[in-house]
Symmetry: C3
Subunit: 314 residues, 3 copies
């Protein structure tokens, strides 16, 4: 085969006019002040920074799993202390910037940004030991609930459900601390890497198991009890979005379901609105539920009748 292209070789054209004109046009678009524009703003937290911090937090919660360093009970105190000190500084930095940015946008004059940032950071740091204990229960729930699970280590190393839940628990603490931007950046990272979309505002009990998980959506005001099992493609969503007198969607209302302890929700089920699914209930695959059910309720559908035709094929 001939290595010479019969159709010409690359000569980069020097089309300076094209570039110049495009730059000018872009710049006039940047300065119209109509948003989607981060120039002249304070430096935002960046995705790279947020992910580095998230990695450190994961290392603290599941020490040794990232395989970055050998740890033993004798030296763990130093490793964790070193990581935590670094995380503490980094968190202060990005959370401060997120609050400062919000104050600038809202043009508020009287909030003490350093103080509210520090409070949010402390809240997250203090929550870590408890988060770790709860995640142990989550991992055990996955092991007990999945016949394919071979060991707890396999779950920590590879189960997307545990990963999504771990990240949401961290994002939720920041959400409770009212940190702008960062909680959603964190939870969207979980969504991207697991296909599981849990809003940082959702409140999760312990021993939660999300199996497979792709397509799961859990809304901002959802509340989930202990021992809940959720399969792929489940939506805990809003039924409608009330609007104010000006026709704007009202933000912040409780509009997602409350799922009580020990409920199981099978794949593809959709549960919508501010309703309650009572303790120990089982929601079958593909169910579409918009009303509360009593504790201990089994909700299923007759799947649509099958039309079965046997054909002759070569």
């Amino acid at each position: 085969m001939d290595r010479i292209c019969p159709n010409g070789d690359l000569k980069i054209p020097a089309d300076i006019d094209l570039i110049d004109n495009t730059v000018l046009e872009l710049c006039s678009g940047y300065s119209d002040g109509k948003g989607v524009n981060h120039i002249e703003g304070f430096n935002l937290p960046s995705e790279t920074e947020v992910l580095r911090i998230l990695e450190d937090l994961t290392e603290i919660i599941f020490p040794g799993y990232a395989g970055k360093r050998m740890m033993s009970l004798k030296n763990i105190r130093y490793s964790v202390g070193e990581i935590l000190s670094r995380v503490y500084l980094d968190l202060n930095d990005i959370i401060f910037r997120a609050f400062r940015f919000e104050c600038e946008m809202k043009n508020c004059k009287d909030c003490n940004v350093p103080e509210i940032s520090e409070r949010a950071v402390s809240r997250l740091i203090k929550s870590l030991p408890r988060t770790r204990e709860i995640l142990k229960l989550d991992a055990s729930a996955a092991f007990a609930g999945d016949p394919a699970a071979k060991s707890l280590d396999e779950i920590v190393l590879s189960y997307p459900g545990l990963r999504a839940i771990a990240i949401q628990r961290i994002a939720h603490e920041l959400y409770l601390g009212e940190v702008p931007l960062i909680p959603r950046m964190i939870s969207e990272h979980a969504h991207r890497t697991t296909g599981i979309d849990i809003h940082p505002g959702a409140s999760l009990g312990s021993s939660i198991f999300i199996d497979h998980g792709t397509g799961v959506v859990i809304g901002e005001t959802a509340e989930i009890g202990n021992g809940v099992k959720i399969f792929q493609g489940v939506t805990l969503g809003a039924l409608s979005f009330p609007k104010d007198a000006c026709g704007q969607i009202i933000k912040g209302l409780k509009r997602h379901p409350t799922i009580k302890d020990n409920v199981t929700i099978y794949s593809g089920a959709t549960i919508l609105g501010n309703i309650v699914v009572g303790e120990g209930s089982v929601i079958g695959g593909n169910v579409w539920l918009t009303e509360s059910v009593e504790p201990g309720t089994l909700v299923t559908i007759s799947p649509p009748d099958l039309k079965i035709k046997t054909r002759t094929r070569k």
Copy 2:
């Protein structure tokens, strides 16, 4: 705990025969000329290169969000000029290679590869200011449509729908420029990082909002108007694939839906075939639609009847 493994230590075996034989067997498979083989071909564009370019394009469209550099309206012209000049060269390089590769495969002799590459590059570069303006409208549509959205910045920084749409708009320009391979590599990157699979061929209006998005599939010949809202798990697909006389699927026919302005499509709905969903229509969750509907139509299903049994549980 004993740090010595009772079951032996690692001694890497030097199984030269295994490696030699496997290499020989692989190489004979490489040279059978039956495809899935990129040896002896011109150098293809690689994923790494494509993603680096995509990152630069995103920085131009949403300056400052990546957090890589401080920008101000005074210096933005230099930053953007520098990025755009680099992108221009890089695009010329990979697009040239993609076209040259296609010519080689088709063994065509009379196409002017440098010229068609340059035309495709210019087309994309020129489209950037307009793409940015449309993406502003997309971001505003997300803010107006999602009660959980806190700010436009949150949307730009973390909403997968906006990310998928931004990337598709870039891929679509390359598709219109008939660039081989690269448009699909770009859109598949969006699919991978958002779960939203929009073919580069699909044509999108402005003020589009895709919420959550995991599992959304939008086919090559779909057309979507302005102000359309799409939720997770929606398919705009083909109903059947007509075959030619030899039984081969015919490529390129219009086989996906046309969605007119201001249509809302709720989660899990499937819309198939070359049909039209009229302006302002609302398609309910889990609807399965294969026929055109008039403007202003509300299409819902009665969800399958629920069987509700309340049980006594300890």
Copy 3:
């Protein structure tokens, strides 16, 4: 705009007590021996190592596509030999560690870890040429089955289905070699980057095409024949998890479907339990199937009746 924040500047607080107390609390949680804890264990295989090896294996199977080096039939033997030698060493290292870790956990004394590791490595290496041949057939099946596919190269470079299948074939060889942890880490990487969740235990024939793929779940004991086509959102799952006398889920039973040759399964279909879908059958979109069907069967549902209301809209 004023670049000074009216609400104070960042002063990192030196809250040593907070950090000290949190470290102490965390460390006491680490040492309770209740799992989710990798301290004092042998060094586990890490995700970074596993992914590097996976990248090398992909380069061997699809040489030239990663664009890392120019290859020609004359020098390919050296490139592949060099990569394969490196992979061989790396695989021996991480697989050895995975087995050693398992032996440690189970406290077993009489298994010969170096021997069983080497056996598993050889098994995988030997399988590569055949895996490559099968993947050629998979790529051809995608080209034949997708009207949007422009070339085989496009499929290799960008189709998530081919990627997920390629990775599963590798994970499956390790699963058959009974390697702990690593198969699932590998297949979860495929899940993360494609939305397609195929357990390493599933057994796949040749000429398999998974289109779009987001949300596909294929369970551990599923068996799939040749020429099978699967669309997005399809589940091949378990119907129920039998429990033993102590109420623990029994692991390892055949609980997922067997799909015979040339079956097509359309989007959103759910097939559950240890049932058989006979050769050449077609399972329609959103079908929910829990019983075996004969060869050549067409299974569809009447989609739920649509309620269509045309409204007047401005």
